[in-house]
């Protein structure tokens, strides 16, 4: 009867503001096969990666890796659209490096989402006003149009928008 797990993973990403001019984003990954920590620092407002730290606490893979060394190629990269491609391009020959690269991606997503969160906090609670706010958001950034189901034709959030 019991359905005992064969595999378990927990990833926790935390973004912090450090003073006025920098932020850190850290990712801890713990699963059946490994336990690792990665932290990136960025400068505000340009969001360039100004520091990167990491350690591998446990791994079934014997591979010896200097995490910080593996990451140095992305120092100075700007966290923004396209960063995922850059990370994957620079890091990740081995299985371990790929996981670490994924954790850097998580750090970057967290950073970007922390700004999204600030933006979403401004959206009014009233559904009508909220709809309007989303409409304006898409109008201001047409890349968002058709970027997901909620912002595609058929959704009331974009039914007043015509890009064609």
């Amino acid at each position: 009867m019991p359905e005992i797990l064969s595999f378990s993973r927990n990833i926790c990403t935390v973004v912090e503001q450090i003073g006025d001019d920098s932020m850190t984003s850290s990712c801890r990954l713990q699963d059946t096969l490994m336990d690792a920590y990665v932290e990136i620092s960025v400068k505000i407002p340009d969001l360039e990666i100004s520091g990167i730290k990491g350690r591998l606490e446990r791994s079934v893979i014997g591979e010896k890796i200097d995490v910080e060394d593996a990451f140095k190629k992305i120092m100075g990269t700007r966290v923004g659209p396209g960063i995922r491609k850059i990370i994957r391009g620079f890091i990740g020959n081995s299985a371990t490096e790929k996981q670490l690269a994924y954790m850097v991606e998580e750090c970057c997503s967290g950073l970007i989402l922390s700004f999204t969160k600030d933006h979403l906090k401004q959206i009014p609670k009233d559904p009508k006003k909220a709809k309007h706010a989303f409409e304006n958001m898409v109008k201001a950034n047409p890349r968002l149009y058709k970027s997901c189901a909620a912002l595609s034709p058929g959704s009331p959030l974009v039914d007043n928008i015509e890009f064609d």
Partner: protein
């Protein structure tokens, strides 16, 4: 340790993924995403041997906006995907854009953890035979996240592989769920002179392999309703009518148009006819031969291809056709995805053995041609590699 200011924490995201073995060949995966903005859960089952997605269920607990719920049904489009080359990209592109990138990310996370689990299970099964085999080796090999299913898989028990819905034959199962798998692109002799397969043989083969129906799409030839009705009664099988029409822009599968069209017609003109009749148009094998020299050499990019005006005149694109290369199918898929067009699959069979190589899986029940047109317009369908799936099940 110094205490700091609370406002320092600006965002937190938690992901938790659990994998367990549902039966000999099925892994269950439960993925959770909890962050300051989103709370979602996803349940995925995958076959252990093929790492094929058998089912997906998604659910929002908290979301960015009231329309995020629209993303859930599109998850179904990844059912049938197998982990292998291009898998990540396909999920990111298809699910990420049509559904939601957070759901797509969690779907990938679930699938990759299933793969890790499969490797651990494989290692456990193999280490009795090969005590020297380290988990390290098994986990590190094919380290590429986009690498294929596990080869030489040793499953401890030898029960027949299942698709997750018990031991019903596929066609029965499909009927119960209202789901229908139909080969939308079939040629028969003598209506299509290029075909070697008689219509009777073709139908019997389609029945044998468990398709729920076929669509006769002979070149510029219209079957009469009476002829088709007679075939249906004789074979007790769903037979639908379509047409493969050659236009100045290439071949188009047309449904719901009775009017006979002769010679080569302009795509624009055909469009008018189809709109008048309330029919449906699928661009057949759109890049057949285009990619012979490789995308790079021709300089044809997905972006450039998307600009081709012909796509404005069709309702859907055939992205699984057995007469073109894998690459050409994939390229068609990317273009269709970029243009947000519906996609279908059909064998383009010209011989008995070709029927059902590819087909289209509809979520809706289809009993006749009116149902077909309605279902095509509604959009709840995906192309499937039917014969391949069938082999696995038999």
């Amino acid at each position: 340790m110094e205490g700091g200011d609370f406002e320092m924490i600006t965002f937190t995201r938690n992901k938790v993924v659990s994998v367990w073995r549902k039966d000999d060949d099925t892994l269950g995966v439960h993925g959770i995403l909890e962050d300051d903005i989103y709370s979602l859960e996803i349940d995925v089952s995958l076959s252990l041997s093929q790492l094929e997605i058998l089912s997906i269920a998604g659910k929002w607990n908290r979301a960015e906006n009231s329309e995020c719920r629209r993303a859930i049904p599109f998850l179904q489009e990844a059912v049938g995907f197998k982990m292998g080359e291009g898998f990540t990209q396909r999920v990111q592109k298809l699910i990420g854009r049509k559904s939601c990138r957070h759901l797509a990310d969690m779907l990938l996370e679930c699938c990759y953890r299933a793969r890790d689990t499969a490797r651990v299970i494989r290692w456990e099964a193999e280490k009795e035979r090969r005590p020297d085999l380290s988990l390290d080796e098994v986990v590190s090999e094919q380290g590429d996240p986009s690498s294929g299913p596990i080869k030489d898989f040793q499953i401890s028990s030898r029960k027949p592989l299942k698709r997750g819905a018990g031991d019903l034959p596929l066609s029965k199962k499909a009927m119960i769920s209202g789901e229908m798998i139909i080969d939308l692109h079939v040629h028969t002799s003598p209506a299509s002179p290029c075909s070697s397969a008689s219509v009777g043989e073709t139908i019997e083969e389609a029945k044998r392999i468990g398709l729920d129906g076929i669509c006769l799409t002979d070149h510029n030839y219209v079957w009469t309703a009476a002829e088709v009705e007679r075939l249906r009664e004789k074979h007790d099988f769903l037979i639908l009518r379509g047409n493969e029409i050659t236009t100045d822009q290439g071949d188009v599968l047309v449904f719901g148009v009775e009017k006979e069209i002769e010679g080569i017609i302009e795509l624009k003109e055909l469009r008018q006819e189809v709109l008048k009749a309330g029919g449906f148009m699928i661009l057949a094998h759109p890049f057949r031969g285009f990619l012979t020299f490789g995308v790079g050499q021709l300089g044809l990019t997905v972006e450039k291809a998307m600009e081709r005006p012909l796509f404005e005149f069709v309702d859907a694109v055939e992205i699984m056709n057995s007469k073109v290369t894998e690459k050409e199918n994939r390229f068609a898929a990317e273009v269709a995805e970029g243009l947000n067009l519906q996609v279908t699959g059909g064998s383009d069979a010209h011989a008995v053995s070709g029927v059902g190589i590819y087909a289209t899986r509809f979520s809706d029940r289809i009993d006749n041609e009116i149902d077909l047109i309605r279902a095509l317009k509604k959009g709840n369908y995906i192309p499937v590699a039917f014969r391949e799936g069938m082999k696995k099940r038999s």
